[in-house]
Structure formats: structure tokens, C-alpha cells
């Protein structure tokens, strides 16, 4: 009998060992442990502003990455987590978020993209938790990231009663990804209609064709040189030279409704961009001296208006720019752009090189190049000239904020914060930006991956001099909706695309990177503005709304000739009118905050 028992024990031990071995053979090397069948469970509701295409799955918890993570054990108690993601209908995000807060039926975890008021008020109202102890105890990866990025660490906390507290967690980018929009210009028109100072013409074109007979975009060469001596339009004087060529092109081609440059309907882009080359911005920004400044009343903005009014007088810009309301600045009068009637515009990466050329009419032979924000070398005084652009729409490392509410206070927060912290580990970032590996797929046999045939995982790896880097499978890379659906990118994340993936190659990628010529060091991040006290947040909001409205109404007057930016009288009247809204009070509040955070 004893022998039989020993035999059973031996067989049991062998089976356990076999099971363990087989588990290890399939276990993904991501440092995660499968939750035991009898593991404690904790469930969290989580509000995210966007979900994925319902043709892939109905609820976000069915996302392959989320499903995988829900099989793992988290925190000191090795808890199995489950999430109930709530996603508003597209277009009703703000209403949905407000209703959630107003009715008290908010979730355990919430993305704060649609919250515009003071986050300190949320804390004081008892709606969100102070995350400080959890972050310090359970989020070493998140803290390590902040330690490595002191600028962002400064604004990752909010000061409550004199003490810095983590009230929200920010998603971040490891580096600036290839941008999706920026200044675009017609390189083919410069070759066709431009002249060198000696009167000779430029040459250029595609040297190879693809199998289908279309030009190979990577084979473009030309000998264009701008007046600055650069091969791209670096200075405002380069832009003026280029706009002159575009006017010639439009006149020569007889494009009656064409124009040299499209302009966003208020006459400026508030984030900075074109204004930044004049040492200013369209709103509050951090000046060269490190102090907060307000852009619309500064000399830089006046120089910008002088420039644009001159361009308008020269017939270089869209005479009807004020009519394109309701269009985003990266899609201004897009129909005309795509018809090949515009020379310079703020556009999309999908318009670069020969992508707009369908061989018909004015679109035939279109070649679009990217341009960085130009540096002013023509207008205003010395302080407004030759200043490196530093406030722009793209190129911040900061993403959305996430909070944990009082609804979650009795749940296993240690497990939740361990889970959130893992998103900031290398393996977590990999899962986020690349989806499931082969091993991770084999652990879960995810239905979507099986259905779509991604049984080897969603990406591949290459050894490079920088170490092992990764790339999504081409069929996933080519389809944005699919790429979003196979990766868990909709909640708290570290986007490590810049450090983990094989960089895109070719002329298009090179052109996209032209938009990153300058770093965004002057823009005030959302996390900084969210540090304002509730009273100052209200002041900021009120002044910003009123002054933006005033500027949207009256800046076109300066450009179109109703007022003269070269006239001191008109400019002084403008400054006086803007100052009536007291933007200086907001400047002072932001400056005080900046000094507090710098201490």
C-alpha cells in the first residue's frame, strides 16, 4: 500500500514537472506570471475616450493585449485583474464624461482627456484619490521614467496644501515619433518655374519607376537651392522667394482659383508654428529667457502680421482664408490642395512626395516636400529675427492623464498600480506598441489573431547596431484600424516607438523628419497648466476664451488690410484692446506657478 502511494506521488510529481516545463516552454519572456486558478480577483471599470473598430471586437476588454494581461497575476497578492472598459460613442465623448461626473456614475479609473477644469478640485471633492503612496510603492518603472525626464517630473504632481501629490498619471512618449502633419510645398513647381540667380533653371525628377509604371518615390533627385543656400526653405526670405515662384506657376498655368499659400481661418495657428520663427506664439509660452510670455501682444506677433499682410498684398496667400471656418489647420481648403491648385500649405504626411499625383489635370506630376517652420530674417526688429522655432503643435512627450477615483478605494489597488506600472516597463511598452509576440499569442490563442492569421505574432525583430529592434508586420503597418485593434494602445501607456522600433526608411520618412528640425521647448504642456489652482484655472479659461475670440475676429483685419501692422497707432490700439481681457493676470499666474515648480 505504501509503495502504491509512493508511486502515485512520483507520478503526480512527474506530471506537475511536465506541466511546469510545458508552461515554461510557452511562457512569454515578459516577466509576468500567469494567475493561478484560485487567485484572488479584482475588477475595475475604466473610462477611455476611444475604442477600436467594432468589426474586430465589441468591447475593449476583448482587445488581444488586454485579454492577455488579464490572464496574469498582479501585485503582492498575485491578483487576477479584470477590466470593464467603457467607451463613449464617437462625437459624444465630452457629454459622456460630463454626465458620468454629474451623475456620480463614474468609473474606477478614468482618462482625463475631456476634463478641462482643475484636477485639484476633483481631489478636494473626494472624487479622485491621492495616488502618491501607490506610485511610490508600486510604480518603480514610472518613477524611473520621471527621474530620467526631470522637466516632466516637475509637472507630474500637483501641489496640494504645499505638498506635491500624484493626483494623475500621465502617459508619455519615449521620443518624438514621426510626425503626421506639417508644412508642405510643391517642389515640382520650384523646378518647373523657379530660376537660379544666374537665370538658369533647376532640374529634377524621379529616376526610377515601379513595376506598375508609377515613379519610385525614393528615386527623386533635384538640384534646388534656396536663397539661404539650403536645399530646403529655411528662412522667411526663402519662403518669399518660393511664394513668388508659386504665383508665377499659378499665373502661367492659368489656375484662376489657385493661390500660393493656404492660411488657417483666424490668420494664425495658436500653437505657434509659423509665428514661432518670429519669436512669439499664438498664446502663452515659455520665452527665450525662461519666463512666461503672452504671444499676441508681443513684437514677434506684430512682425508676423507685418509679414502676412505683405504676403496678402502681394497676392501670395488665399484671399478667402477667413471663409474656411470649421476646418482644422492641417486640412485648410484641402479640396483645392488635392486638386493641385495650392503651392504651400499645412498638410498631412499622406500628401508627401508623389502621393497626390493621379496623373490627371493639375495633379499630374505633383511632388510635395516637407518644410520646417521658417526662421524670420526679414520683418521686425533684431529680437524678432533669426530666432530658432520653439513652440509648435507637435513634438511634446506628454500624453493623456489618467486618474483613479474613490470608487476604487476598497479594491486591490496594489494590483492595479503594479499593472499600470508594468505598462512603463520595456516589455509593457513592447506589448503596447507592437501587440502580441508569438509566445504571448500561443499562451492565449487569441481569437482575433487566429482569425487574421497572426499566429507568429504581430511583429518581427531585427538585430541592429542599436540592439534588437522591432517592426509591425507589413499588413498591420499598412492598416491603421487593424494596427490599433491588435495592440492595447487605448489606455495608460508608455509609447516607446522611438526607441523600440526599426525606424521607417525612405524619402517619405526623411521628409516627415524635416518637420522635426526644431525641438518644442516653448509650449506649455497640459500638465503644467493643470497645476494652476482652481481659481487660476477659471481665470485662464475665461481669458483664453475671450481673447481667442477677439483675435479670431480681428487678426484677419491686419492681414487683409483693414488695419496696418506697420502703423504704431493700429498696433497700439490692438495691444490695448487685447489687454482689456487681462491676459497679463494669466501670465502672472503661470509665471508664479513656474517659479514654484522650479524651487
Amino acid at each position: 500500500m505504501e509503495r502504491l502511494k509512493n508511486l502515485y506521488r512520483a507520478i503526480g510529481a512527474m506530471l506537475a514537472a511536465l506541466l511546469l516545463t510545458s508552461s515554461c516552454a510557452f511562457a512569454a519572456d515578459d516577466g509576468l506570471v500567469n494567475a493561478a486558478p484560485d487567485a484572488p480577483e479584482s475588477s475595475f471599470s475604466y473610462w477611455i475616450s476611444r475604442g477600436d473598430d467594432v468589426s474586430y471586437y465589441e468591447a475593449y476588454q476583448q482587445n488581444p493585449g488586454v485579454e492577455y494581461l488579464m490572464t496574469k497575476a498582479w501585485g503582492p497578492n498575485q491578483t487576477r485583474l479584470s477590466f470593464d472598459f467603457r467607451v463613449p460613442i464617437m462625437g459624444s465623448e465630452q457629454d459622456n464624461f460630463n454626465t458620468m461626473l454629474a451623475t456620480g456614475d463614474y468609473t474606477d479609473v478614468m482618462e482625463l482627456t475631456y476634463y478641462n477644469d482643475s484636477v485639484i478640485e476633483l481631489y478636494e471633492d473626494g472624487i479622485i484619490l491621492d495616488l502618491t503612496p501607490y506610485v511610490e510603492q508600486y510604480m518603480p518603472n514610472y518613477m524611473a521614467w520621471l527621474d530620467a525626464h526631470p522637466d516632466y517630473k516637475q509637472t507630474a504632481t500637483n501641489v496640494v496644501d504645499g505638498q506635491p501629490k500624484f493626483l494623475q498619471l500621465y502617459s508619455y512618449y519615449e521620443g518624438v515619433n514621426d510626425p503626421w502633419c506639417g508644412w508642405c510645398y510643391r517642389r515640382d513647381w520650384i523646378i518647373q518655374f523657379g530660376k537660379r540667380p544666374d537665370g538658369s533653371s533647376f532640374t529634377g525628377g524621379f529616376t526610377k519607376t515601379l513595376v506598375d509604371g508609377t515613379p519610385d518615390e525614393n528615386s527623386w533627385t533635384d538640384d534646388v537651392v534656396f536663397p539661404s543656400g539650403e536645399t530646403y526653405p529655411k528662412l522667411i526670405s526663402d519662403w518669399e522667394w518660393m511664394l513668388g515662384i508659386f504665383k508665377t506657376a499659378i499665373d502661367t498655368l492659368g489656375i484662376e482659383d489657385g493661390y500660393g499659400m493656404s492660411v488657417f481661418y483666424p490668420g494664425f495657428i495658436a500653437s505657434g508654428d509659423l509665428i514661432t520663427g518670429f519669436n512669439s506664439a499664438g498664446t502663452w509660452y515659455k520665452g527665450l529667457d525662461g519666463k512666461i510670455q503672452y504671444g499676441l501682444t508681443g513684437g514677434g506677433f506684430r512682425a508676423y502680421l507685418q509679414c502676412f499682410s505683405t504676403w496678402f498684398k502681394n497676392g501670395w496667400v488665399d484671399a478667402a482664408f477667413t471663409e474656411h471656418t470649421g476646418e482644422m489647420f492641417w486640412r485648410t481648403d484641402e479640396a483645392k490642395v488635392r486638386q493641385g491648385k495650392v503651392g504651400l500649405w499645412y498638410g498631412l504626411e499622406a500628401q508627401l512626395l508623389n502621393r497626390m499625383d493621379d496623373g490627371e489635370g493639375l495633379k499630374k506630376g505633383v511632388v510635395v516636400f516637407a518644410a520646417p517652420n521658417p526662421i524670420n530674417d526679414v520683418y521686425g526688429s533684431a529680437s524678432e529675427r533669426n530666432v530658432i522655432p520653439r513652440t509648435m503643435f507637435l513634438a511634446s512627450l506628454e500624453g493623456q492623464a489618467t486618474v483613479v477615483t474613490d470608487k476604487a478605494k476598497d479594491k486591490d489597488l496594489a494590483a492595479l498600480f503594479t499593472f499600470l506600472d508594468w505598462q512603463f516597463s520595456r516589455e509593457g511598452a513592447k506589448l503596447k506598441i507592437l501587440g502580441l509576440s508569438k509566445e504571448q499569442y500561443e499562451e492565449t490563442r487569441n481569437e482575433l489573431y487566429t482569425r487574421l492569421g497572426f499566429t507568429e505574432g504581430a511583429y518581427y525583430a531585427n538585430q541592429t547596431p542599436d540592439g534588437e529592434l522591432y517592426k509591425l508586420l507589413p499588413e498591420i503597418e499598412a492598416d491603421d484600424r487593424l494596427a490599433n485593434a491588435v495592440r492595447p494602445i487605448r489606455f495608460f501607456w508608455l509609447d516607446a516607438t522611438a526607441t523600440l522600433t526599426i525606424p521607417n526608411e525612405g524619402m517619405k520618412a526623411d521628409q516627415q523628419r524635416v518637420w522635426l528640425t526644431y525641438s518644442n521647448t516653448g509650449t506649455l504642456n497640459t500638465s503644467f497648466i493643470k497645476q494652476l489652482s482652481p481659481a487660476d484655472t477659471n481665470l485662464y479659461s475665461k481669458v483664453n476664451t475671450q481673447v481667442t475670440e477677439f483675435a479670431n475676429k480681428h487678426v484677419p483685419d491686419f492681414i487683409m488690410g483693414g488695419k496696418d501692422p506697420f502703423s504704431d497707432k493700429d498696433w497700439d490700439a490692438w495691444v490695448k484692446a487685447v489687454n482689456k481681457y487681462k491676459p497679463d493676470q494669466v501670465t502672472q499666474a503661470l509665471q508664479t506657478l513656474l517659479e514654484q515648480l522650479s524651487q
Binding site: 454629474a102 477644469d117 476633483l122 478667402a320 477667413t322 484655472t537 481667442t548 475676429k553 484677419p556
Partner: protein, 319 residues
């Protein structure tokens, strides 16, 4: 001679009013029929009225009506002291007056004309065609307006042929261009539908009167002026009174879709102005509620005033 003095609309009260208990007992079934309507009115129209308190609060959606800070008339002061509030009021009143005059008369004229059409088939087809725009969404109407009034649009080309400058009329910042555009798009969309009630009223006019007048030698125009219009006068007064009450508050969606920063000074009305101020960088429910309350009070005052004036001047009134 042909006009017939119509009776005031106010119904005569029953000579002997019953005590309410007896009345309920006697007409219990009628009260039962009315009960759902009463419940609807109380639940959805009267109880929510306590929300007007928001207009006097620094309303915070998380704290609710009872938890938000009471700030008295600060929201109203914010509203009235806005830099462009004067222009906004001028535009609101201007567009309201246009809608009350040209806009109000158009359905009456259409109804009078339709009722004079002898070919019934033609009349029905015309009626159907004129009703149809009412069922077109505001978004589509605005898109059509943008299309026709653009630099190369059909209306613009027509106006150019008449010697007016070729331009995008919606971007014209001069008065009263936008007001007229707003008024005529309203007329295009609402005249057919608005004429239904007048066509019905005209159909109810005693035919003997027309016959007698015709025998006496009155022409069509004379009969319209002396019989038809006086006969439908109570209806006109009722519609006018109702319209006065709403005219101040209408047009928000269309104006929001048609205006642009360049035309704010001539197109902005209270509701669009409030929308921008209250839903800018962050949401200011208090300001929005104050504006709504202000407009409601003005509308109610206008309604009462219009009713009183009508009673005094024409002996007809709604209540």
C-alpha cells in the same frame, strides 16, 4: 360691408361654475384623460425649472445644484458686460424683427395665393413642393446656403448679373446681408409648412360671403382684402402672438453653422454668443443658464406684451 366681425378667441366662461370637487366627480373621465398630460408637464417642464438656480451659481457639475457656490447675479453681469454684448443684442433684435415681418407675412401670402388657385392638381403639387424644405435638416439647409452663396454659387451669379459684386455673401461683414440671408433661408424652409394653418383657416371661411361679394361685383383682390383676411384675422393674431414669444430664441443652429469669425459682429445672437463664451476652453454652465433664463424672460415678456397689445388694438387675443 363684406367684412364679418369675428368673435374674440377667448372662450366665454360657463355661466355657472361648479365647485371643483363636484366638477371632478361629474367629469372624472375627462380629468383622467388629462392626467397623463398633466404628469408630463409637471415632470418634464415644471420640476426641471428648479435648475434655473444654476444661473445664480458658480455651477460645478460634480457638486450639483445644491452643492455649487451661490454667486448671485455674477453670471448675468458677465453676460451683459461682455465686450460685444451690445452688438449681439442688436443682431438678435434685428433678425427677430425681420423674421417677425417678412418671415411672418410670407406664409400668409402663400396661403392666400394658394387658395386662389383654381386648378386643384396644381395647387396640391405647389403645396407639396413648398412643404418639402421644412423636412430638410438644418445642416443640409446651411450646406445649400453655403453652396448657393459661395463666390461661384448660383445665387451669387444671379446677383452678379444684377450688378452686385461677386463675393461669398456669407462672408460679407456688412449689415444687413447676414440678417437677410438668415431671414430668407427661414422663409424658404418654413413658408410652405407655415402656410398649412392659414390654408385651413381660409378653407373654413363661409363660401356664401364670397358668393355674395362676387354677385355684388367684388373682384378677387377685393374679396381677399375684405373677406378672407378679416376672417382669418384671429388665426393671424394667434400665430403672431406665439411667434413673438419664440422669435427671440430661434435661429441658434442655423447661425452657428453659417457664421464665421469675420461675420460675428453682424451675425452673432445671444444664443451663439453664449455658446462660445460658455463652452470655450472650459464649460461655464452658469453663464449658459443665465443666458437661457434671460432669453426666456424676454420671450415671456414679449408674449404677454404682444397678447395685451393685440387685445387692446384688435379685440383678439390668445389668452
Amino acid at each position: 360691408m363684406y367684412a364679418q366681425r369675428a368673435e374674440p378667441m377667448r372662450s366665454a366662461r360657463s355661466p355657472a361654475r361648479l365647485p371643483w370637487k363636484k366638477d371632478i366627480k361629474r367629469n372624472g373621465f375627462l380629468y383622467l384623460l388629462y392626467a397623463p398630460t398633466l404628469c408630463y408637464l409637471v415632470i418634464f417642464h415644471y420640476i426641471p425649472m428648479f435648475g434655473v438656480a444654476i444661473a445664480f451659481e458658480d455651477f460645478n457639475i460634480r457638486r450639483g445644484v445644491f452643492g455649487s457656490r451661490w454667486i448671485g447675479f455674477d453670471n448675468f453681469i458677465d453676460l451683459f458686460t461682455g465686450e460685444t454684448f451690445g452688438l449681439v443684442m442688436r443682431n438678435t433684435v434685428g433678425m427677430a424683427l425681420l423674421n417677425l415681418t417678412i418671415g411672418f407675412i410670407a406664409p400668409i401670402l402663400l396661403a392666400l395665393v394658394l387658395c386662389e388657385v383654381r386648378n386643384k392638381r396644381f395647387k396640391r403639387i405647389t403645396q407639396t413642393i413648398t412643404y418639402m424644405p421644412f423636412f430638410v435638416s438644418t445642416m443640409v439647409v446651411c450646406q445649400l446656403a453655403r453652396f448657393f452663396l459661395a463666390r461661384e454659387g448660383g445665387v451669387t451669379l444671379l446677383l452678379s448679373a444684377l450688378g452686385l459684386p461677386k463675393q461669398n455673401w456669407l462672408a460679407n461683414p456688412n449689415l444687413p446681408v447676414f440678417w437677410l440671408i438668415n431671414c430668407f433661408t427661414d422663409i424658404w424652409q418654413g413658408t410652405g409648412y407655415g402656410s398649412i394653418v392659414y390654408v385651413a383657416a381660409i378653407s373654413a371661411v363661409n363660401g356664401d360671403l364670397h358668393e355674395a361679394a362676387a354677385i355684388d361685383g367684388a373682384g378677387r383682390f377685393r374679396r381677399i382684402v375684405s373677406i378672407t383676411i378679416p376672417s382669418i384675422k384671429p388665426m393671424i393674431i394667434m400665430m403672431l402672438t406665439l411667434r413673438v414669444g419664440t422669435v427671440f430664441m430661434s435661429g441658434f443652429d442655423k447661425i452657428l453653422l453659417l457664421y464665421m469669425p469675420r461675420t460675428y459682429d453682424v451675425a452673432d445672437v445671444i444664443s451663439t454668443y453664449t455658446y462660445r463664451m460658455a463652452f470655450g476652453s472650459s464649460i461655464n454652465y452658469g453663464l449658459s443658464a443665465a443666458s437661457g433664463l434671460f432669453q426666456s424672460l424676454v420671450a415671456t415678456a414679449l408674449l404677454l406684451l404682444s397678447n395685451a397689445m393685440n387685445r387692446r388694438l384688435t379685440a383678439y387675443s390668445l389668452f
